[in-house]
C-alpha cells in the first residue's frame, strides 16, 4: 500500500473518531428530535408524524423540509432501532465520506497529492463538519452531494447519467439546491476544463435547469409555498428596515432643501441590491469561517468557526498563492465559493449559514494550498493545533452544554418522561415555553405508538404542536383556576406560568426540575390547579 493511501486512511479514521467521540453530544434540538421521531414513524409504519404515507415534503417549525434527511435517518432507525445511534449514524458516515470525496476532488483538481491530503485533513478536523456529522441535517448531505458532483464532473471517466442522478438527488435535499445547481453546473461544464462536447454540455445544463424549475414548480403547488419562499429565501425584498430607511433618509434630504429628484437618485430601490450584495459578501467574512460560525449552537459549537482559529494562517497563504497564479482552473475555485453562497444575497437580515457550509471543502482546498507553502515544522504544528482545538471542544463539553441550555436542552429528558408517564393516567398541562417545541421530545423519549399520535393535518406551515392525546400545551393566554373535585390534572409549569398563578392560588409543588445551569425551570403541580 502506498504511503499516501496509508496517510489518507489515518486521516479518515481520525475524522471518524472525532465524529463518534462523545457520541451523545450535541443533544438533539427540537427540530432534530422531530426528524428523529419522524424517522421512527416512517421506519415503523411508513407514515410521518402526521400520518401521511411516504411523503416527499415534511413540516418543521421554520419551513418545509425536503425528504432525503428524514428518510436517511429513518433507514438508520430501521436498522439500529429507535435510539440516537440509528438517527445519527448515516450522518456520521456521510461526514466521514466527505473526507474521502474532498480528498479525491482535491487530487483530481490540483494533481497534487500533498494538497489533496491536507484538504482531507482540513475537512476531517473542521469543527462544523464534525458537528454536523453528528446530527440529522440537510447541510452535511447537500455538501457531500455537491462535492461529489464536483468531483464526478471533473474526473477523467465520468458517466453523465450518474451525475444527472446525483443532481436529482440534491434537489430532494434542500431548497438551496434549486437555486445553486444551475449556476454550479453552468460553471462546471462551461468554465472548468472537461472532456464533454458542447452538445453534451448544453444538454446537461438544460437538464439541470429543468430539474430546478420542475422542483420549484412542484413545490409551488403546496398551499403555503409562496409564503415559504418569501419568508425563508427572499426576505431581502420584504425587509422593512431597508424600505423605511430609504424613505426616511430621502425625507430628511427633502426637508433640508435637496431636490426630490436628487433624493430619488441617491436613495432608491438599488439600496436593496447593494445591501443584498454586501450581505452576500458578509457571509464570506473571516469571522464566520475562523471566529464564530453560529452563536445559537444549532449548526456548530458556539465558540468555533468553520475551521480552527489557527487555520486562518494556511488559508491566507493559500489564498495569496491562488492570487499569484495566472487565471487557471485552480483560481476558478474562488468563483465557486461565490456561486454556492449567492442565494444569501436574497436573504436579509438573517444569515444563510447553511450555504456557507457548502463552501467549506473548497476552503479546505485553499488551506491545503497554504499548508504546502509552509515550512515542514510549522505545517505540522498548525495541523496539531487544528486537531487540538477541535478535539478540546468535543471533549470538554460542559461549557457548550451550558451555552446551548435553551437550544439543545438535555435537561428536558426527565420532564418529557414524567409528562408521558402521568399522561397515561390523567390529563397533563405543559407550559409551551419550557422549550421551543416539547412535543417531539415527549414522543421521542417515550415508548409511544406512532398510530396513537397521528395528527391528520395536511401540510401546515411552520407547525408547532399544541396538544398530544391527554397532554395540552399551556400558552401565555391560558388562565388557571382551582380544580373542581371531578377534575383531575397535573401541570408542568414554566417560570412564566408558575409566577402567574403563584400570586393568587395555593400551589402544591410535587417536583422541581432544573436546567443545565442549575436554575429551577419547571414545577410539577399536583391535582389542585386546572387550566381552561
Amino acid at each position: 500500500m502506498k504511503v499516501e493511501i496509508k496517510i489518507l486512511i489515518l486521516i479518515i479514521v481520525c475524522g471518524f473518531i472525532l465524529r463518534i467521540a462523545n457520541f451523545s453530544f450535541p443533544f438533539l434540538s427540537a427540530e432534530e428530535v422531530r426528524i428523529a421521531y419522524r424517522s421512527y414513524t416512517l421506519s415503523e409504519v411508513g407514515k410521518d408524524e402526521f400520518g401521511r404515507d411516504w411523503p416527499l415534503l415534511f413540516n418543521s417549525s421554520e419551513d418545509y423540509k425536503l425528504p432525503v434527511v428524514s428518510y436517511l435517518s429513518a433507514l438508520g432507525v430501521k436498522i439500529f432501532g429507535k435510539n440516537e445511534f440509528g438517527v445519527r449514524i448515516f450522518f456520521i458516515l456521510i461526514g466521514t465520506g466527505l473526507i474521502l470525496v474532498s480528498y479525491n476532488l482535491a487530487l483530481n483538481y490540483t494533481k497534487n497529492i500533498k494538497v489533496a491530503l491536507f484538504t482531507a485533513v482540513a475537512v476531517a478536523l473542521s469543527p462544523i463538519l464534525v458537528f454536523l456529522s453528528k446530527v440529522p441535517n440537510e447541510s452535511i448531505v447537500l455538501t457531500f452531494l455537491i462535492i461529489f458532483i464536483f468531483y464526478f464532473l471533473t474526473r477523467r471517466n465520468t458517466t453523465i447519467y450518474v451525475a444527472g442522478l446525483l443532481i436529482l438527488s440534491s434537489m430532494l435535499v434542500s431548497k438551496f439546491s434549486w437555486f445553486i445547481m444551475p449556476l454550479f453546473i453552468l460553471f462546471l461544464v462551461f468554465v472548468q476544463p472537461n472532456k464533454f462536447s458542447f452538445k453534451i454540455k448544453s444538454l446537461f445544463f438544460i437538464f439541470t435547469v429543468m430539474a430546478s424549475l420542475l422542483s420549484i414548480l412542484i413545490f409551488l403547488q403546496v398551499p403555503q409555498a409562496t409564503r415559504s419562499f418569501l419568508e425563508n429565501n427572499l426576505t431581502l425584498f420584504s425587509n422593512l428596515t431597508i424600505k423605511n430607511g430609504i424613505e426616511h433618509l430621502r425625507m430628511q434630504g427633502i426637508q433640508s432643501g435637496w431636490s426630490p429628484l436628487m433624493e430619488r437618485v441617491l436613495f432608491n430601490k438599488i439600496e436593496f441590491a447593494v445591501v443584498g450584495l454586501l450581505h452576500w459578501f458578509s457571509h464570506l467574512s473571516p469571522n464566520i469561517y475562523f471566529g464564530q460560525f453560529d452563536k445559537t449552537g444549532i449548526l456548530n459549537i458556539t465558540s468555533l468557526g468553520a475551521f480552527s482559529k489557527i487555520t486562518i494562517i494556511p488559508f491566507l497563504l493559500g489564498l495569496f498563492y491562488l492570487f499569484q497564479q495566472k487565471l487557471n482552473h485552480k483560481k476558478l475555485l474562488l468563483f465557486l465559493i461565490f456561486i454556492f453562497t449567492f442565494p444569501a444575497s436574497l436573504v436579509y437580515p438573517n444569515y444563510s449559514l447553511d450555504l456557507i457550509i457548502l463552501t467549506i471543502p473548497l476552503l479546505a482546498m485553499i488551506v491545503g494550498f497554504g499548508l504546502i507553502n509552509l515550512r515542514f515544522k510549522l505545517r505540522y504544528l498548525i495541523i496539531l493545533l487544528m486537531f487540538f482545538e477541535t478535539a478540546f471542544n468535543l471533549l470538554i463539553i460542559k461549557p457548550e452544554v451550558n451555552y446551548t441550555n435553551t437550544t439543545r436542552p438535555s435537561w428536558i429528558v426527565p420532564i418529557a418522561e414524567d409528562v408521558y408517564a402521568v399522561s397515561k393516567g390523567i390529563k397533563v398541562g405543559v407550559s409551551d415555553n419550557i422549550v421551543f417545541d416539547i412535543a417531539p421530545y415527549i414522543l421521542w423519549e417515550n415508548p409511544v405508538s406512532p398510530e396513537d399520535n397521528f395528527l391528520k393535518i395536511g401540510l401546515p406551515y411552520k407547525y408547532r404542536q399544541t396538544s398530544l392525546n391527554k397532554i395540552k400545551m399551556i400558552g401565555a393566554d391560558n388562565n388557571f383556576y382551582e380544580c373542581t373535585p371531578d377534575e383531575n390534572i397535573n401541570l408542568f409549569l414554566s417560570q412564566r406560568d408558575f409566577e402567574k398563578i403563584n400570586r393568587t392560588l395555593n400551589l402544591v409543588i410535587t417536583k422541581k426540575y432544573q436546567d443545565n445551569l442549575g436554575n429551577d425551570l419547571v414545577y410539577k403541580i399536583g391535582n389542585s390547579i386546572c387550566v381552561n
Partner: protein
C-alpha cells in the same frame, strides 16, 4: 496622461492636497453641527492648559487628562492649546489640528505609497482616494488624535524605507523620532506601533545589516524616547484604569459566557475561561473585516440598519479586491506587500480587543491601508484598460469609474450633512450648546441653576461633559473653574459657580426658590408643571422637544 503625471507629480499632489484641504476646512465650524463632548472637553482643557498650565481639575501639565473620567491621551489637548495661542478660543480651534493633520496625511500617504510600491501614479491615486474617502473626511473634521498619529506613522515608516534606499543616517533617526511621536498621540498606537515596527524589522531584515551601527543606535534611541511612555502606561493608575475600562472583558456578553464556563475543576475552569476570552476576542477581531461594516454602516451615520455609510466607498470594493490580487502578484515588492498586509492584520487588534462591537476610530490605520490597496486596484484596472486596443473602451470605463466615484461622494456628502445630524444628533450632545448659552443668559436672574443632563428621544442617557459645555460656552475662566469645581452630595452632582449639574428630584426640587431648573421629560414631569414656569423649550435637531427650562421664583 502618464507623461503628464510623471512630469509634474508634485503639482498634482499639491492639487490633491488643496482639494483635501477644501473638503476638510470648508464650513468646518458647521459640520459636525455641534462640538461633541470630547471636543468641548479637549478645547476647554486646552484653554486651561494654555492659560494656567493646569487642566480644569488643577493637575499641572498632566500626562493624561481626566476629562470626563475617560482619561484622554494628552497629545490632542496640547496641540489644541498651541492652536489656541494662535487662533484664540473659538469652536473652530479644536477642529483645526484634526483637519490640519488630515490634510497633511495626503502628503504622507503619497510618499509612503511611493516608497512602498515604487510607483508614482499609484501613490497619487492613493492620495487622491485619501482626499475624498468617507472615513478620512469624517475623522478629519472632528477633533481626533488618531489621525495625527497615523500621519506620523506614515511619515516614520516612509523615512525608514528611505533609509533602506540611501543608507543616510538622518532618515533612520528621523524615522524613529517620528514613530515615537506617533506612539504618544493615541493609546492604542503605543501598542500597535512597536508591534508594527518589530514586524517591519523582521520583514525587511535582509535590508538591515546588524553591523550597521546607525540602525542599532537608532533603535536604542527609539527605546529611550519611548521609555517615558512605557513608564506612564505601567505606573500611571489612570492609564491602567482607561485600558481596563475599554478592554474586551468589560463586554457584558463575554461576562455572561465566562459565567457559564464553570466545570467545577479549578484548573480546567481557568483554562476554559482563558479560551473563552481568546475565542471572543478573536471573533471580534475578525468581525472588523465584515464587508457590511466597511462599506455599509461602519461610520454609524444612521439608525437605518444597513442603509448608512461605511468608512470606504462601496465603489472601492472591487478595486480593493483587484488591489489585493495586484499587489500579491508583484514580485518586485515582496517585502513591501508583506508589510502593508501586516499593517492591516495588526491594525485591527485594538478594535478586536475593546468592549465595543465595532470601533471605527480604532481602525483608522487599517482603513488607511485598505484605501492604499484599493488605489493599487484602481491603478491595476487603469493599466489593464490602457493596454486594450480599443481606446473607446478605455475612455468609457474611465468615465464610468469617475461617475461611480462622484455618485458615492455625493451620497456621502448627503449622509454627512443631512442624515448624520438628523439621525445621530444625540451622539453630538445636541442641543447642549443652546442649553449652556441660555443658562448663562439667565445667570444673573437666579441664585442657583440646576441642570440634569439626562436626555434622549427614545431612551434616557446621561450626557457627559455638561460642566465643560457650561464652562466653555460661558467663557468661564479656567483658573476660576479649577477653584470652583467640586463634587456635590446629591446623585451625580458636580458644582461650580451657581451651577449644580445633577439628577433632578422633582418632588423635592420643585420647592426650591429663585432657581432655574433645566431638564428633560426623563427628570421633570413636564405635564404637571405650571406652563408659566416653563420659560424656554430646547429642541433636538429633528425638531422634537428636548430640554425645558423651569423658573422657580
Amino acid at each position: 496622461m502618464r507623461k503628464l503625471i510623471l512630469k509634474s507629480p508634485i503639482v498634482l499632489l499639491l492639487m490633491i492636497i488643496v482639494l483635501a484641504g477644501y473638503l476638510r476646512f470648508y464650513r468646518l465650524e458647521d459640520y459636525p453641527i455641534q462640538l461633541n463632548h470630547d471636543e468641548v472637553s479637549q478645547l476647554y482643557d486646552a484653554i486651561s492648559i494654555a492659560t494656567t498650565g493646569k487642566d480644569i481639575y488643577g493637575n499641572f501639565l498632566p500626562t493624561i487628562f481626566e476629562s470626563v473620567h475617560d482619561f484622554k491621551s494628552p497629545f490632542y489637548t496640547y496641540i489644541t492649546a498651541l492652536f489656541y495661542l494662535i487662533f484664540g478660543g473659538g469652536e473652530l480651534t479644536v477642529r483645526l489640528p484634526g483637519a490640519f493633520f488630515s490634510t497633511l496625511i495626503i502628503m504622507a500617504i503619497y510618499f509612503f505609497s511611493w516608497r512602498l510600491f515604487k510607483n508614482q501614479i499609484m501613490a497619487l491615486l492613493a492620495s487622491l482616494m485619501a482626499a475624498i474617502v468617507p472615513f478620512e473626511l469624517f475623522f478629519g473634521r472632528k477633533s481626533f488624535e488618531n489621525v495625527a498619529g497615523i500621519f506620523f506613522m506614515l511619515l516614520g515608516f516612509t523615512a525608514l524605507l528611505k533609509y533602506f534606499e540611501n543608507k543616510k543616517s538622518v532618515w533612520v533617526y528621523l524615522g524613529v523620532i517620528i514613530l515615537s511621536i506617533a506612539m504618544y498621540t493615541y493609546f492604542s498606537h503605543a501598542i500597535i506601533i512597536p508591534l508594527l515596527f518589530i514586524s517591519f524589522i523582521f520583514i525587511f531584515k535582509d535590508e538591515i545589516s546588524w553591523t550597521d551601527s546607525n540602525f542599532i543606535k537608532a533603535i536604542i534611541f527609539w527605546i529611550i524616547l519611548i521609555l517615558p511612555l512605557v513608564f506612564l502606561v505601567i505606573t500611571n493608575p489612570d492609564a491602567r484604569y482607561r485600558s481596563e475600562t475599554v478592554f474586551i472583558t468589560q463586554d457584558v456578553n463575554l461576562g455572561e459566557r465566562i459565567g457559564l464556563t464553570q466545570t467545577g475543576n479549578f484548573l480546567l475552569d481557568n483554562v476554559v475561561k482563558l479560551k473563552v476570552i481568546t475565542d471572543y476576542g478573536f471573533n471580534r477581531y475578525l468581525n472588523q473585516f465584515d464587508p457590511l461594516y466597511i462599506f455599509s454602516f461602519g461610520l454609524d451615520f444612521t439608525n437605518q440598519g444597513p442603509v448608512g455609510m461605511g468608512p470606504l466607498f462601496l465603489v472601492q470594493l472591487p478595486f480593493l479586491i483587484f488591489g489585493l490580487i495586484y499587489i500579491t502578484r508583484q514580485n518586485n515588492i515582496i517585502r513591501e506587500k508583506r508589510f502593508i498586509l501586516t499593517w492591516v492584520i495588526l491594525g485591527m487588534i485594538p478594535s478586536g480587543l475593546t468592549f465595543e462591537s465595532f470601533s471605527p476610530h480604532r481602525s483608522i490605520m487599517v482603513f488607511t491601508a485598505l484605501n492604499i490597496i484599493s488605489a493599487a486596484g484602481l491603478f491595476f484596472v487603469f493599466k489593464y484598460l490602457n493596454n486594450l486596443p480599443q481606446k473607446r473602451i478605455f475612455y468609457i470605463s474611465i468615465i464610468t469609474i469617475f461617475l461611480l466615484f462622484t455618485f458615492n461622494f455625493v451620497y456621502f456628502i448627503h449622509m454627512y450633512t443631512v442624515n448624520f445630524p438628523n439621525e445621530k444628533f444625540q451622539h453630538l450632545h445636541y442641543p447642549f450648546e443652546q442649553v449652556a448659552r441660555f443658562m448663562w443668559s439667565e445667570h444673573q436672574n437666579y441664585d442657583r441653576i440646576v441642570f440634569d443632563p439626562l436626555y434622549g428621544e427614545v431612551a434616557p442617557v446621561i450626557g457627559t461633559a455638561a460642566h465643560y459645555y457650561l464652562a466653555y460656552f460661558g467663557n468661564y475662566p479656567p483658573a476660576k473653574m479649577q477653584q470652583e469645581y467640586r463634587r456635590g452630595e446629591k446623585t451625580r452632582e458636580v458644582l461650580f459657580d451657581k451651577f449644580s449639574i445633577r439628577k433632578i428630584d422633582w418632588i423635592e426640587d420643585q420647592n426650591l426658590k429663585n432657581t432655574l431648573i433645566v431638564g428633560t421629560i426623563w427628570s421633570i414631569p413636564i405635564k404637571e408643571v405650571d406652563e408659566n414656569k416653563i420659560i424656554k423649550t430646547f429642541y433636538y435637531f429633528d425638531g422634537k422637544p428636548a430640554f425645558y427650562a423651569v423658573s422657580l421664583k
